[in-house]
């Protein structure tokens, strides 16, 4: 329904401050538009054929190309394609002429409008927070092109049609956007430009209308990631990181390392000891030759097995309350049957394909960085602090990143600050790229925290849910960070309990308690955050309760969904997946179906897995998925994110675990931190609900339902309930 609202965001400062009078003022708006131009701000006046820049998000060039400026990081989730789709649809642009580029760091112009004045990509919000903003940008640009044509042709603007980057009039007049760009740039920027009614969309929600903008460059090797940046005299650095969490350098001997040909510097930085040189092989040999004495007293006694034992004990104790029955709750029913279960989840690394890295260059009183900057505004602030420069002397260049899954946005901007610290340590002699090797990346912490959930749920004599007691133990992701005040209220980190509370279900007599112990292992959000564990608990327990009540698992859930929109949308995807997959119909002998549904960041996803256990090992034959993410902006990107989310969740379900022994991460590379491979990928079938709700995200919500769907299928095969992940722990997957 939000499609029909007025573009309230169009009144934001960006339209006022950027391009208020087209071309010339387009250069005067600071600092965002400045970076959009090739000419220096204080240089000569722009040439007559400069692009039409109606706002901070769109440029129409005389050659008829349209460049969409993307404020969010592309990590694979397809958001550059999505942001371009939103603007190009309202602009009536020819998709084949649409180009994209990254916005500079400027949180006043390019902030995530859901998160205040922060430029950050996360929470599956890229399309959702930009939906009105990018459409308004496109509609405004279109209105100015139409106005320019109306002036030139002496006809009313309302008589001019636009399609595929061409303006036409019934009189036979015709001009491309490129031809009208200069004239449009001289016009005032209109306010309150009406947006299209959804039935007039030409790109949004259309099948095959918007192929990915980044496919070709990623198929011929030409896409430039951080690891590919070349600059004159660029040096490479690796860091001897602390071998255990919290370890400190006592002393180091660089003599041997400095003798390695190609090693130019060995410098101590807050992150450890950096070895700098002319190439990766040289600095790796230098790092091997480096001798560092470490004080490992901080976490010498830290073992994940002992942490788990401690968490189990805490799960039996009252904690900080996150849910209590409200005063007007009906009196509790008499419990006839109780189910109790303890669930255990390991640390998980993100293991993005491109290990963390950043290029930093100090020169001429400036700092420039190149990286897959995800928490752009914080990276900017912390880079400036590390370089001891004001933020207006720092320029971030955002590059496409080889995955992230949350890792590239963190509260300390670790890879960015490391690069800057090294650049400072070598006194800005040359640009330098810090490259985490795979072992550094996997061993660095910032894990999805370990969690233990203890649940006790009761049914009344009629098989209705009568009560629910839920205790969660695990590190708070936000405690002690710059964003703590956003998510922690009354001692409860919302990200620790999301998916349990609030929930898509109306659970009677809900009592929730949280323990948030601190550990020297830095925690971080990991694709779907709290839902990565809460969905498993809720959706496997629902199945157990349905079985105990003698009810069909789908019917049991349908009766329990919360009243209102959320419950209806959850029911919608559950029913859709049940229908499409043939829920309840006989499947092949030895194959069982399992089902799960979960709301994650406002998106509703249901998944059904068909599973067998030939030779005692789990085999998943197919997964059917239904997703309601509001208006489906790019249907094929949505399907891709569901497919990928399912594969990512399967990696964790099968293999994902970082163990810690004596403070050190045990699994550090893909030999032991295993990832799903092609032979293990099930056939995935995705059904996208044609919804007219405001769009929500798809990068993360495909992950949570998969593991409980598989676990529920295993239970129907007669396998004892799985309550500790990953399955490899129980020898249930081929290794």
């Amino acid at each position: 329904m939000i499609c029909e609202q007025r573009p309230t965001l169009s009144r934001r400062d960006f339209l006022r401050s950027c391009g208020a009078a087209g071309l010339v003022l387009g250069f005067a708006c600071l600092p965002a538009c400045r970076a959009l131009t090739a000419s220096p701000v204080d240089g000569p006046a722009p040439p007559v054929h400069a692009p039409f820049t109606p706002n901070a998000f769109i440029r129409v060039a005389p050659d008829n190309t349209v460049t969409i400026v993307c404020k969010h990081l592309e990590m694979g989730q397809g958001n550059t394609t999505g942001l371009a789709t939103l603007a190009a649809d309202e602009l009536d642009a020819d998709w084949s002429l649409v180009r994209t580029e990254y916005a500079p760091s400027d949180p006043k112009v390019y902030n995530n409008v859901f998160y205040g004045e922060m430029q950050i990509t996360g929470g599956s919000t890229s399309i959702a927070n930009s939906f009105m903003q990018m459409r308004s940008a496109g509609a405004t640009a279109r209105a100015m092109l139409v106005a320019a044509a109306a002036n030139a042709w002496h006809v009313p603007a309302a008589e001019i049609n636009t399609a595929n980057s061409v303006l036409t009039h019934a009189s036979g007049r015709r001009a491309t956007y490129g031809e009208m760009a200069a004239a449009a740039g001289r016009l005032p920027v209109p306010k309150d430009v009406a947006l299209k009614q959804p039935q007039h969309f030409t790109l949004i929600g259309k099948q095959k209308a918007t192929p990915r903008v980044d496919s070709l460059s990623k198929c011929n090797g030409s896409a430039i990631y951080t690891i590919d940046v070349t600059l004159p005299g660029l040096l490479t650095a690796v860091i001897a990181f602390p071998p255990s969490f919290g370890a400190k350098v006592i002393s180091f001997d660089s003599a041997e390392a400095m003798r390695v040909p190609g090693v130019t510097d060995v410098v101590q930085v807050p992150e450890g000891v950096a070895v700098v040189g002319t190439g990766t092989w040289a600095v790796l040999k230098g790092r091997r030759a480096l001798k560092v004495a470490w004080d490992e007293s901080t976490s010498a006694s830290l073992h994940s097995d002992a942490v788990l034992a401690e968490y189990r004990a805490q799960a039996q104790q009252p904690g900080t309350p996150f849910a209590r029955p409200s005063d007007n709750t009906p009196a509790p029913a008499t419990v006839a049957k109780t189910i109790e279960a303890l669930y255990e989840f390991p640390f998980l690394a993100h293991a993005a394909m491109e290990p963390m890295n950043c290029v930093a260059w100090l020169h001429d009183g400036l700092l420039e960085t190149w990286s897959g900057h995800q928490f752009t505004s914080l990276d900017h602030t912390l880079a400036a602090r590390a370089a001891n420069l004001p933020t207006d002397k720092v320029r971030l260049h955002t590059l496409v990143s080889g995955g992230s899954f949350g890792r590239r946005a963190n509260f300390v901007s670790d890879y960015t600050v490391a690069a800057v610290n090294i650049a400072v340590a070598i006194k800005g002699r040359a640009p330098v790229r810090v490259q985490f090797m795979r072992e550094d990346d996997t061993g660095a912490g910032m894990y999805r925290p370990m969690y233990v959930h203890a649940v006790k749920a009761g049914l009344d004599a009629s098989g209705n849910l009568a009560g629910w007691q839920h205790t969660i133990v695990g590190q708070s992701i936000f405690a002690g960070t710059v964003l703590g005040s956003y998510t922690i209220k009354d001692g409860i980190d919302a990200m620790s309990v999301e998916g349990v509370f609030p929930s898509q279900y109306a659970i009677p007599q809900m009592r929730g308690d949280l323990h948030s112990p601190a550990l020297p292992v830095p925690p971080l959000w990991w694709r779907s955050v709290g839902n990565s564990h809460s969905a498993f608990v809720m959706e496997t327990m629902m199945d157990e309760l349905a079985a105990a009540a003698g009810q069909d698992p789908v019917a049991f859930r349908l009766a329990l969904f919360a009243k209102g929109e959320k419950g209806e949308r959850a029911a919608g995807v559950l029913k859709l997946v049940a229908e499409k997959a043939g829920w309840g119909k006989p499947v092949r002998a030895g194959v069982a179906q399992g089902i799960a549904v979960h709301e994650c960041f406002g998106t509703f996803v249901a998944q059904l897995a068909e599973v067998s256990m030939p030779d005692g090992k789990v085999k998943i034959h197919r997964v059917v998925c239904a997703v309601d993410c509001g208006v489906p902006v790019n249907p094929d990107v949505i399907r891709a994110q569901m497919e990928g989310g399912i594969g990512f969740a399967l990696s964790a379900l099968y293999y994902g675990e970082i163990e810690i022994k004596a403070g050190r991460a045990v699994q550090r590379n893909f030999d032991r931190y295993k990832a799903l491979r092609i032979n293990e990928m099930p056939n995935v079938e995705v059904h996208v609900v044609d919804s007219n709700h405001a769009p929500t995200g798809v990068g993360e919500p495909g992950v949570p339902p998969l593991a409980p769907a598989v676990a529920n299928a295993l239970a129907r095969l007669g396998i004892p309930r799985v309550r500790r992940l990953p399955l490899a722990r129980a020898g249930m997957v081929a290794s």
Partner: protein, 157 residues
């Protein structure tokens, strides 16, 4: 040590440590950055190239072993099969983050050069060494089949 490499049909001189993994030579000395670093221990396949037409993990192959051998990287793909594979990848929008895809494509091209009618089992076998953390596997499989189908018809010319 100095030696001559044959990369993408061009002779390139190399001076340096003979133990240097080919990956770093290709990327940092020859400037061919389409081949990626992912693990350094031949587990992920992001660094896959062809040596005499056979896929090889360049992160674990010393440059000294490359004398007299023909090296092909993603930038040097030119065969009819290679073009069909890359086109199928684009047509099906296989990529997500894209970082592993050079390696995936190199493995797929080598497979179809050898087995034009690759089965699902052949694909599993040939591409199990290439990790994709975005899990684009379903589309990778579909793209290989699409390329094979086009190559078998006149479309793949």
């Amino acid at each position: 040590m100095s030696m001559t490499l044959n990369v993408n049909g061009t002779r390139r001189d190399f001076y340096g440590d003979p133990d240097t993994p080919l990956l770093w030579v290709i990327r940092e000395q020859l400037g061919l950055t389409g081949t990626k670093y992912g693990c350094g221990i031949a587990q992920c396949g992001a660094c896959t190239i062809h040596v005499d037409g056979v896929p090889l993990r360049s992160c674990s192959a010393p440059v000294a072993a490359m004398t007299g051998r023909a090296i092909t990287t993603i930038e040097g793909l030119a065969s009819r099969v290679a073009k069909a594979v890359q086109k199928a990848w684009v047509d099906l929008d296989v990529v997500q983050c894209g970082y592993c895809q050079s390696g995936q494509i190199m493995s797929a091209v080598a497979l179809l050069e050898k087995k034009p009618k690759a089965t699902d089992e052949d694909i599993d076998h040939a591409l199990a060494g290439n990790i994709c953390r975005c899990a684009t596997y379903q589309r990778i499989r579909a793209a290989i089949h699409l390329a094979a189908k086009r190559l078998a018809s006149k479309e793949g010319a």
